[in-house]
């Protein structure tokens, strides 16, 4: 029995496209420890995002089992999985995926709408999260009034605000220039080191992977290699 935060056993995933069945993940076994900062790398179509989606509870495996914090999530209903995501996972996307009609503050507050917190408490929590990512002074700005780096920081604040078990990041620096990407990665590293957040990050960028504590490589749905990062 593993004491990993995330544990995958024999996880497979296949899609049916027309008459063809595409095997995306093949009998994957994986353990991710609490407090880990894991980079998932691999060529396009290797199954990185699919694996991330399954770990984040956005998708279900075709076979095998997945446990997070001891709880099997592959058997949860759609509604329970949504609740589980709200309680345990923070998501960061390549294109930030902020709601354009809401201010940074309101975007960060979004996950808290699903809690019983009062409006003033939600605001307070959102301000703390924005403060952590260094954007307290941009709280009233809408996403189109922010730079790419700032928008991604807001997205990270939104992912953090509910104090999730896991931070799941899909190419978080894919849309940013090198300098801004480094700022974001430093922020993630700090969240991992200072706040003990477990982070799983999909990236194409080897430099980005250097910020992680572990790197896993996927190819054609299989784990082919793993490496300890120096940092």
């Amino acid at each position: 029995m593993s004491d990993a935060l995330v544990s995958l056993r024999g996880v497979t995933k296949s899609y049916t496209r027309g008459k063809e069945t595409v095997q995306v993940l093949e009998a994957l076994d994986l353990d991710i420890a609490q407090g880990d900062f894991l980079a998932l790398m691999g060529p396009s179509g290797s199954g990185k995002t699919t694996l991330l989606n399954i770990i984040g509870g956005l998708d279900k495996p075709s076979g095998g089992e997945i446990k997070v914090n001891g709880e099997r999530i592959d058997t949860l209903s759609s509604g329970k999985l949504a609740k589980w995501r709200a309680d345990h996972v923070g998501f960061v996307f390549q294109f930030y995926n902020l709601l354009p009609v809401l201010s940074a503050q309101r975007n960060v507050e979004l996950p808290l709408l699903l809690t019983k917190l009062s409006a003033s408490k939600r605001k307070e929590h959102a301000q703390v999260a924005l403060d952590i990512v260094g954007l307290k002074d941009r709280a009233k700005h809408k996403p189109n009034e922010l730079s790419g780096g700032q928008a991604q920081r807001v997205a990270i604040a939104r992912a953090l605000v509910g104090d999730p078990t896991l931070l799941v990041c899909d190419e978080p620096t894919g849309d940013l220039d090198r300098a801004t990407a480094d700022e974001i990665l430093t922020l993630l590293q700090e969240l991992n080191r200072t706040h003990g957040k477990t982070i799983i990050m999909v990236t194409h960028d080897p430099k980005a992977a250097e910020y992680a504590t572990h790197t896993l490589h996927l190819d054609k749905g299989r784990l082919v290699e793993s490496a300890e990062a120096a940092g």
Binding site: D59, A86, F91, L113
Partner: protein, 382 residues
């Protein structure tokens, strides 16, 4: 309530589009309020009709006269408690557009049959004593700032005078009356049939219709049959109806207003359904990634779907309230056309229910798509 800012902000994501959609719904509900309101005002006369009163008209048409000699024969029918007569005068003041309802009557016979009409004994006596006298509804007095003692010139679109061949009639206002149960009935005047019959160039010895009061309203149908049987196979056969039936058939002379209103509104709302439905679908289509993000953050499929439905409800109800509010403001402006009227509560309720139904139908397809939205596909842009 905590979700309201999110839903409201999503609704106004494309301000110009939402505003135009809102305006189209506002116009539809403005039309709804006005047409249904007018229809309701017209039908209110029917609803106020007395159950113990019958109207006898010429079987051929309301415009065909009946001999005045029928009076005593009708009076003799068992169950009849009182009979009076009146005639359509087709009158207007100064301009044909300024229609006023005038009717020559025998005050002694007519007034006891219309107790809803409140008039002083002094005014009744003066009317009886003054050949060219008229008692005028208080609303009509106010409308043209007439006073008791004024001599008013009235034109008739039907009746010419034998004395000069013109249709210019003059009446001396000897008193006023009120109808507290329906102020629209105050938009008319009553004058002496004797004067009318002597002065008119044609049709002497006839009346427009008879008004009958029956002792027992449950016997009204039998009395009506008995009256019509009296004049069967005569040159002027009669058709006797309850006051309510008469009012309905009178209104139908102008067309089936209910049908016209329903048809117009049906067409408007049918078009609106497609227009707004399409806009709503487009709006949801554009927001697929945002809806997927909400689901990603832990909002359940049903919660996000309810957001879309509430958005539709907000849009339609907000527009309906504005549209109905505007139509209620329009009623005072239409006072000259439809008389005293306001937007009836039942029309407001019907309007709001229509808005809810419209919103639910419009939201049906977008809500279904939202419910079925796969996060993974939506985020991948598939």
């Amino acid at each position: 309530m905590k979700f309201f800012p999110l839903i409201w902000a999503s609704l106004w994501r494309k301000k110009a589009r939402t505003l135009l959609t809102l305006l189209s719904i506002v116009v539809a509900f403005l039309l709804f309020g006005m047409l249904q309101g007018v229809n309701s005002a017209i039908n209110r006369g029917v609803e106020l009709a007395n159950v113990d009163r019958l109207i006898t008209i010429n079987k051929l048409s309301l415009t065909e006269p009946l001999p005045i000699s029928y009076l005593n024969q009708i009076r003799a029918v068992p169950g009849v408690e009182g009979v009076a007569y009146a005639t359509w005068f087709g009158s207007y003041y100064q301009e044909p557009q300024q229609f006023v309802f005038g009717s020559p009557v025998d005050p002694e016979l007519y007034l006891p049959l219309v107790p809803e009409l409140e008039i002083s004994d002094e005014a009744v006596n003066k009317l009886k004593q003054t050949r060219t006298g008229a008692v005028v509804g208080q609303a009509l007095m106010d409308k043209y700032s007439w006073s008791v003692g004024d001599r008013i010139p009235i034109q008739s679109s039907i009746w010419t005078k034998s004395s000069d061949g013109t249709s210019n009639w003059e009446f001396d206002i000897v008193g006023t009356y009120t109808v507290p149960s329906d102020v629209n009935q105050e938009q008319g005047f009553l004058f002496n049939h004797t004067y009318f019959d002597e002065a008119r160039a044609f049709g002497n010895g006839t009346v427009g219709w008879y008004l009958i009061r029956v002792g027992d309203p449950t016997q009204a149908a039998q009395v009506a049959q008995a009256v019509d049987a009296l004049f069967a196979n005569s040159p002027a056969e009669t058709k006797t109806q309850s006051e309510k039936e008469f009012s309905q058939s009178f209104i139908k002379q102008f067309g089936d207003i209910n049908f016209i209103v329903t048809a117009i509104l049906g067409a408007v709302f049918f078009t609106l359904l497609f227009l707004t439905g399409n806009t709503m679908m487009q709006s949801v289509r554009e927001r697929v990634p945002e809806l997927a993000v909400l689901k990603t953050l832990g909002f359940t499929d049903s919660t996000v779907t309810v957001f879309v439905v509430i958005e539709s409800l907000l849009l339609c109800l907000f527009a309906a309230v504005i549209g109905l509010g505007l139509s209620s403001l329009a009623f005072p402006a239409m006072k000259d056309v439809i008389g005293e009227a306001s937007l009836p509560t039942d029309v407001i309720i019907a309007g709001l229910l229509a808005a809810i139904l419209l919103a639910l139908i419009i939201a049906l397809i977008p809500a279904w798509r939202t419910l079925r939205l796969s996060i993974v596909d939506a985020l991948a842009g598939r």
